[in-house]
């Protein structure tokens, strides 16, 4: 028996035009968005776990109204129910405040064994929320799982690093984050799309979670984006003319860029 809460995020479509709002936070309202691709691996892994035993998958998101799309997509893929924390006060929250909202929502969900997340969000890409969440909930964390096995109430994961592969395990309630190597996420099916219409989705405000407006949002953020600018357009390459010393010039160029 494993009830799993999967955290999902509604992110701007990376193939569309992405913009920022006037306070230098990501514009999440005026752009096309979708369920963060990296979260699909978490949804898939959670479904595999409950399909192998039993239990239910609850997807949890924090975000503006359109973020309901991410919940709906996860329900179409196969999750059983959804929770959407929706509150204007949350806009502009940093990772710390986001983890507070998530932790309170997970405590309110109460009936869970595993909190599962993706590797990172595809917009913020910080990868810190799982750790912050584990700290707030007082749970062990198994992060960056590229393989996951369950025995009883123990979960063992494989974490692939640059120089080594670790095998780690934990028992009882825990936070698990998974990488994009762990599985191949399924697509929604037509039946799943129809079934999702009837699945329960609850919408909570921060007041429902006992959080004050002053604890979240831009004002409560520990960090602030001061400025941003688009990456400069690619410039034309440098052409080395071979006047008998082409090889030397090439080597000098590579050395100057620390390639050799």
């Amino acid at each position: 028996m494993a009830n799993i809460v999967v955290l999902v995020k509604y992110v701007p479509d990376a193939t569309g035009d992405r913009t920022f709002t006037s306070d230098n936070t990501v514009d999440r309202v005026g752009v096309d968005g979708l369920l963060s691709e990296l979260d699909e691996y978490a949804v898939e892994e959670a479904l595999k776990v409950v399909e192998a035993g039993d239990g239910e998958v609850t997807v949890l998101t924090v975000g503006p109204e359109q973020a309901a799309d991410a919940v709906r997509k996860a329900l179409q893929i196969g999750a059983h129910k959804g929770v959407h924390v929706l509150d204007d006060a949350i806009a502009g929250s940093d990772a710390a405040a986001t983890s507070l909202v998530l932790a309170k929502a997970i405590e309110k969900i109460a009936d869970y064994d595993i909190v599962m997340t993706g590797l990172a969000s595809t917009d913020g890409a910080m990868s810190v929320v799982p750790a912050m969440l584990a700290e707030r909930l007082g749970l062990p964390q198994l992060t960056f799982a590229s393989e996951l096995t369950i025995e009883g109430d123990t979960i063992r994961i494989r974490r692939d690093g640059d120089a080594a592969t670790e095998t780690i395990e934990a028992s009882g309630k825990m936070v698990v984050s998974v990488t994009d190597q762990i599985n191949e996420p399924r697509y929604p099916s037509f039946k799943g799309i129809m079934a999702a219409k009837k699945k329960p989705v609850e919408t909570w405000s921060i007041a429902d979670l006992g959080i004050e407006a002053s604890q979240v949002g831009t004002a409560a953020a520990w960090t602030k984006v001061l400025s941003f600018e688009p990456r400069p357009p690619r410039t034309a390459g440098e052409i080395v003319t071979d006047e008998g010393d082409g090889g030397t010039k090439l080597a000098e160029y590579l050395a100057s860029k620390k390639f050799v």
Binding site: D32, F190, K197
Partner: protein, 602 residues
């Protein structure tokens, strides 16, 4: 998903929701389980599967066409089986079928839009489920409950594929000349003997069974099309409990090697030659569908949807070609504008040149006009099936009957022209296999040929649908067009000017039709001799109407998308609409050039 070169989801959404008001269908009992979110999810799922599974195999399937292995089995690309499996697992094969056979009762309009992603991504790969759906549709409509359960349900579930076996080596367009025979057996089955040609999906190893729907003659059947019956002939025999038995006496003679559409096997099949011997003797075991001698009636019952879907395929190939050539023209720089010949100035993108813009606008007007035409006709299929009053249903039926030959032939002609222009925009690059546009052109060149050739569509429109029904269907169409013209007049400006041009074409079509009808009373052959220019004039008129409708749907809306709609409509009215009149001039003159020709002088 962001901007895709497969189809434009933005344009599809515009047609479905801003123009055709598809959500209003959801109030009807048949579609009550659906909501905007299920329609959107089906479109999104279709685009994802098409882009991730079908588009990547399209070139490989073209360069590695299917072949017959040493063991006599057809060999296809592994990626093809994987893409088709993903499509089957999605449940999309069940989209439009009734709940009773495991279907999802999706509006046909949305199904057609969703399907266009697959047709654009790899029309050859998608042909297997496409043909199977038409097959199961026919069995579901005319088969016995047992036949539906045994042969249609596995297709609805995405497990089997199916074919339509009409043509024979000596009888293509002329089905009255088919010679395949069916002999009744004591156990109620039939045994078939004969040869079928051009059978797409006729053999492969992509599914555990293939359901052939075969036209054949029974003993003593009347000559001609009134003596043709329809049979279910499975490749593998099905036991009473639904499990698979031995091979039926259907054998692959060979594969045809085609110009395009190569992911789809195209076969010459022998029925009853004795290669396999069910029950110890030669003869392909078949099951009669409905009554004897009514085979063509059943076949044509499903023909409207099938022909609209063929037109949709032509449109989708044109559409993706347009998007590819547009992306190229935006990136590729070449030359300088007229009047700025400074060789030191940087070259400009192709889109800066007026003639390239002409080619892009022409494509845009053909493919977006084609999408509008197809989705409007698909909407009529839904309307015919679910209209709330008998009058509405009859009206939808009359319009659909009239528009079907246009929905099939117009995209098959003008979206092939669009592919031709896409190659031209790319220039030399477009003529190489390094870019997809040459394949799109080759793939699309099939569409004016199969499911009733261009010429057959012309005879169908003028002979059967216009002259044959006393002008009722045409009257409905002209009333619809005139209502749009009246709305355009209220808007004024350029929209009203389009309306005036369209009204003149309508007037001319009406008079020409009356003239041809009068001539037909004396000389049917003369009246039908110029059926093709009649079809092409009417097709252009209908698409001009689509454009006026879309301009009205975009009225008062700002932004590049809506400006693009107005620009393409402007192009169509300036460059294309005048040709309606010149074509009708020819038709009205009852020109005898082709009729009087001595073929010896050719």
């Amino acid at each position: 998903m962001g901007r895709s070169l497969t189809m434009s989801r933005r344009d599809i959404d515009f047609c479905l929701y801003e123009w055709l008001d598809v959500t209003s269908l959801l109030d009807r009992p048949r579609f009550a389980e659906h909501g905007r979110e299920t329609l959107d999810a089906v479109l999104e799922l279709s685009e994802t599967l098409a882009v991730e599974h079908f588009a990547p195999l399209n070139r490989d399937a073209d360069t590695h066409e299917p072949y017959v292995g040493d063991d006599g089995r057809v060999v296809t690309l592994p990626a093809l089986a994987k893409a088709l499996q993903a499509y089957s697992e999605s449940g999309l094969p069940s989209s439009t079928f009734d709940e009773g056979v495991g279907g999802m009762q999706l509006p046909f309009t949305v199904h057609q839009a969703a399907t266009s992603f697959f047709q654009a991504a790899s029309i050859g790969a998608f042909a297997y489920p496409f043909l199977a759906q038409g097959n199961a549709n026919l069995v579901a409509a005319h088969g016995t409950p047992e036949q539906v359960e045994t042969y249609a349900r596995p297709i609805v579930e995405g497990r089997w594929y199916g074919t339509m076996c009409l043509s024979e080596p000596q009888a293509g367009s002329s089905l009255s000349d088919i010679t395949t025979r069916a002999e009744p057996q004591d156990d109620g089955t039939w045994r078939l003997t004969g040869t079928k040609m051009w059978i797409s999906g006729g053999d492969h190893e992509l599914s555990e069974n293939i359901v052939h729907l075969v036209l054949a003659r029974t003993p003593g059947a009347p000559a001609g099309v009134k003596g043709v019956s329809l049979f279910i002939v499975p490749k593998v025999l099905v036991e009473d409990d639904g499990s698979l038995g031995g091979r039926n006496d259907v054998s692959l003679v060979g594969l045809n090697h085609k110009m395009g559409y190569r992911a789809t096997t195209n076969t010459l099949l022998n029925f009853g030659e004795g290669a396999h011997q069910p029950g110890g003797r030669a003869g392909a075991v078949g099951h009669l569908v409905g009554e004897e001698n009514r085979g063509l009636t059943y076949m044509f019952h499903m023909m409207n949807e099938a022909r609209v879907s063929v037109g949709a395929g032509a449109m989708a190939l044109g559409y993706t070609g347009f998007l590819h050539s547009l992306a190229y023209a935006e990136e590729r720089t070449q030359g300088r504008p007229v009047g700025d010949k400074d060789p030191a100035a940087p070259p400009v993108p192709l889109t800066r040149h007026a003639d390239v813009r002409r080619m892009l606008l022409a494509q845009k007007s053909y493919v977006e006009g084609g999408l509008g035409l197809i989705l409007y006709c698909a909407r009529l299929v839904d309307e015919e099936q679910t209209a709330t009053s008998d009058d509405d249903r009859r009206r939808a039926h009359a319009l659909l009957e009239l528009l079907t030959p246009i929905a099939k032939s117009w995209p098959s002609q003008w979206c092939v022209t669009a592919n031709d222009l896409a190659i031209q925009v790319l220039g030399g690059a477009g003529y190489t296999r390094d870019f997809p546009v040459e394949q799109l052109y080759r793939d699309n060149r099939l569409n004016p040929i199969h499911e009733g050739t261009h010429g057959i569509q012309a005879l169908d429109l003028l002979g059967r649908k216009v002259l044959g029904d006393g002008g009722r269907g045409l009257g409905e169409l002209l009333a619809v067009v005139r209502a749009t013209v009246a709305r355009a007049e209220e808007v004024g400006g350029e929209t009203a000017a389009h309306g005036i041009a369209l009204a003149a074409a309508v007037e001319r079509l009406e008079r020409t039709t009356q003239h041809v009808a009068a001539a037909a009373a004396d000389d049917a052959e003369l009246a039908l001799a110029n059926a093709t220019p009649y079809l092409e004039a009417t097709g252009h008129l209908v698409v001009a109407w689509v454009w006026l409708e879309q301009v009205l749907a975009a009225a008062g809306k700002e932004g590049a998308f809506y400006d693009g709609k107005r620009a393409a409509a402007r192009y169509f009215y300036a460059f294309e609409v005048p040709s309606i009149i010149t074509r009708l001039d020819l038709v009205a003159s009852l020109d005898r050039t082709t009729l009087d020709l001595d073929p010896g002088v050719l």
